[in-house]
C-alpha cells in the first residue's frame, strides 16, 4: 500500500506523539483541541499554544471491534477507546489487554504512543495499560 498523503499539522502531531512528546493545542481559556487548527473551536481565540498531554489518560469509553474496513481487516478483533488526556480526549486502539468487553473498563489508566496497524503497517495511535495497572481478568460487574 502506498504511503498516505501528507497532512501538515497532523503528521507533525503524530511524529511528536511517537517521540513521546505528544501535545494538544490550548487557548488562553484552557480549551483543548488537535492540529491543524487556527481557531479555538470553543471560544474562537486564535492564541493557540502547544501543551503537553498528561502522562497517562483515563478510558472514558471503549468498544471491541469485530468487523472493520479493508485498512483494519487484519487488526480485528481490536479494542477501540476514547481516553481523556487532560486538555483533550484521544481516540485510538487499546493494545495489551484482551479484546474482550470484560478485560477493559471505563476508568482504566492508559499511556499513549504510535504503533503500526497490523493490516498495512501504517501508523496507529495506540493506548497501552499504564505501568503498574492491571487491565486484564476483571470480573464482569452486574448481570
Amino acid at each position: 500500500m502506498s504511503a498516505p498523503a501528507s497532512n501538515a499539522g497532523y503528521d507533525e502531531w503524530l511524529d511528536a506523539l511517537a517521540a513521546g512528546e505528544g501535545f494538544a493545542l490550548a487557548c488562553p481559556d484552557g480549551h483543548g483541541s488537535l492540529p491543524p487548527r487556527r481557531v479555538c473551536p470553543e471560544c474562537g481565540s486564535t492564541a493557540l499554544s502547544e501543551e503537553p498531554l498528561a502522562e497517562t489518560g483515563t478510558v472514558e469509553t471503549y468498544s471491541v471491534v469485530h468487523v472493520a474496513g479493508p485498512r483494519f481487516a487484519d487488526d480485528t478483533p481490536y479494542v477501540n477507546a476514547v481516553a481523556d488526556f487532560g486538555p483533550v480526549r484521544l481516540t485510538g486502539v487499546l493494545r495489551g489487554a484482551e479484546p474482550d468487553v470484560d478485560a477493559v473498563a471505563v476508568g482504566d489508566r492508559v499511556a499513549v504512543g504510535v504503533e503500526e496497524r497490523a493490516t498495512d503497517g501504517e501508523p496507529l495511535v495506540v493506548f497501552r495499560p499504564a505501568d503498574g495497572e492491571q487491565a486484564v481478568s476483571r470480573p464482569a460487574d452486574g448481570e
Binding site: 497532512n7 497532523y10 483541541s33 488537535l34 473551536p41 472514558e60 469509553t61 471503549y62 468498544s63 471491541v64 471491534v65 469485530h66 468487523v67 472493520a68 474496513g69 479493508p70 485498512r71 483494519f72 481487516a73 487488526d75 481490536y78 477501540n80 477507546a81 476514547v82 483533550v88 480526549r89 484521544l90 481516540t91 485510538g92 486502539v93 468487553v101 471505563v106 501504517e122 496507529l124 495511535v125 452486574g142 448481570e143
Partner: protein, 388 residues
C-alpha cells in the same frame, strides 16, 4: 409566512437491489411521489436531492442534474450531503424555500446505492462520515462509533444489551406489514442477544442493514394546494437543525447528542408544540442505541430514561408513544442519503391514515421526525401535523 404541505410521497422498496442504478431508483420514487400528489411535473420549481456516497458507490459526482433528468423535471437542482442526514437537510431547505415564497412546488428526497459494493468497502465508505485524521485512522468504524456511545451511555446511566435487543425486536415487528421494508420478519429479543458481535456492545441485530433505495416528497405551499385542489392534509409546521463537533471525543458528553437537542428545540419552537404534544415519532435508529439518544434529545424521555422505553412497552406499536412504526432504519433499511425523506414519507402516511400501521395511531395529529448524520455531528428534526 406560507404554510407548507406534503402533497405527495414516493418510496422505492428498501432492500438489496445491486443491479439498479441510482438514477433508476430516484426516478421510481419521484414518479410515485408525483402520482401520489397529483401535481404535474411541469410545476416543480426546484429539486433538493440528498446523497452521501455516490462518488464511491457509482463513481458518480454531480448527481443533482442527473436526478432532475431522471425524474423528468426541468428546474434548478442541488445535491445536499450531510452523511445520513442528507435527505433531512434537503427537505428542510425545501420547507424554507416554500415558506420564503421563492417557490410553490419543490421536490425533496434522496437516494443511496450501497449493495453493489463489497461489505468491507461499504464499511469503509460509511466510516468517512467520521473525522478521517483522528477517528477513522484510529480504528473507528460506523458501528464502532455507536458502540463507543453505547458503552458511554451504560457507564453514565446504566442499561444493558437486553434493553437494546427490545428496540431491535420492536422495530422488526413494526416492519412486518410495511411493503417498503427490507426485513419484514420478526426478530426475538433472544435472537438479537445471540447474534454475532459487530462492535461490542453492539451485535448484528443492533445495526441497520446495508440498503439500496430512494425517497421523494412533493412539498407545496398551502396556497398552491388550495388553488390546484391538491389533497395535502399533512403540514410541515416545524423544522430545526443542529451541528456539533465532528469527532465524538471532542463532544461535551459521549452519551448525549446536543446537535439533536438543538434541532429539536428549534423545531418544536417553530411549530409551537412541545414534546408532550407528540403522538408518534420516526427517529434515526441506525443502531439501537441511536434510538435511545434520539428519544432523549427530542425530550420525549429524560436522559437515562430512554434506554428502557421499548422494554417497558412505551414505544412499542401498542404503547403510549409508538416509535418507528415504519420499522425504522433498523428493519425498514437505511439507504443513507434517502433516509431523511423516507422518515417524512412514512410519518405522512401514518398521519394521513394510509400506512399499514396507521391503525396503531388512529388519532395521531402531531408527529416528529429525527434524522442524524455521522455520530450526530449533524441533526435535523421536523414536526408534522394534520392540518385542520
Amino acid at each position: 409566512m406560507t404554510d407548507v404541505r406534503v402533497a405527495g410521497v414516493g418510496l422505492t422498496h428498501f432492500g438489496s437491489h445491486p443491479e439498479r442504478t441510482g438514477r433508476d431508483l430516484f426516478a421510481t420514487a419521484a414518479l410515485r411521489a408525483f402520482d401520489d400528489a397529483g401535481v404535474p411535473r411541469e410545476d416543480v420549481e426546484e429539486l433538493n436531492y440528498g446523497n452521501f456516497m455516490g462518488a464511491l458507490a457509482e463513481h458518480q459526482g454531480h448527481q443533482a442534474p442527473l436526478m432532475a433528468e431522471a425524474a423528468g423535471v426541468d428546474c434548478p437542482s442541488t445535491r445536499y450531503e450531510e452523511a445520513c442526514a442528507s435527505a433531512g437537510v434537503a427537505v428542510r431547505e425545501a420547507v424554507r424555500t416554500v415558506r420564503s415564497g421563492e417557490a410553490d412546488v419543490v421536490v425533496a428526497g434522496g437516494m443511496e446505492r450501497m449493495t453493489n459494493l463489497p461489505t468491507d468497502e461499504v464499511t469503509e465508505g460509511l466510516a468517512i462520515a467520521a473525522d478521517d485524521l483522528f477517528e477513522v485512522r484510529a480504528g473507528v468504524t460506523f458501528p464502532g462509533a455507536y458502540a463507543l456511545m453505547a458503552n458511554a451511555y451504560f457507564d453514565a446511566y446504566g442499561g444493558e444489551r437486553r434493553d437494546l435487543a427490545h428496540i431491535a425486536a420492536k422495530n422488526h415487528a413494526n416492519a412486518v406489514p410495511n411493503e417498503y421494508a427490507q426485513y419484514r420478519r420478526e426478530v426475538s429479543v433472544e435472537e438479537a442477544l445471540d447474534a454475532p458481535p459487530v462492535a461490542e456492545p453492539l451485535h448484528l441485530y443492533d445495526a441497520c442493514p446495508i440498503t439500496d433505495g430512494a425517497s421523494a416528497l412533493v412539498i407545496v405551499s398551502e396556497e398552491y394546494a388550495t388553488e390546484h385542489d391538491v389533497d395535502a392534509p399533512v403540514a410541515v409546521t416545524g423544522t430545526g437543525q443542529g451541528t456539533d463537533r465532528m469527532a465524538l471525543g471532542d463532544r461535551e458528553h459521549l452519551a448525549r447528542t446536543p446537535a439533536a437537542d438543538d434541532a429539536a428545540d428549534a423545531a418544536y419552537a417553530d411549530a409551537g408544540v412541545g414534546p408532550d404534544d407528540v403522538d408518534v415519532a420516526e427517529v434515526h435508529d441506525c443502531f439501537t442505541i441511536a434510538e435511545v439518544l434520539a428519544l432523549e434529545s427530542l425530550d420525549l424521555f429524560e436522559p437515562g430514561e430512554g434506554i428502557g422505553a421499548a422494554r417497558n412497552g412505551v414505544t412499542t406499536a401498542d404503547g403510549a408513544l409508538p416509535v418507528n412504526l415504519s420499522g425504522g432504519l433498523k428493519a425498514k433499511g437505511h439507504p443513507v442519503g434517502a433516509t431523511g425523506g423516507s422518515q417524512i414519507a412514512e410519518l405522512t402516511r401514518l398521519l394521513r391514515g394510509d400506512h399499514p400501521n396507521s391503525d396503531r395511531v388512529p388519532d395521531a395529529e402531531v408527529g416528529v421526525a429525527h434524522n442524524a448524520g455521522g455520530t450526530v455531528a449533524s441533526a435535523v428534526v421536523h414536526v408534522l401535523e394534520v392540518a385542520q
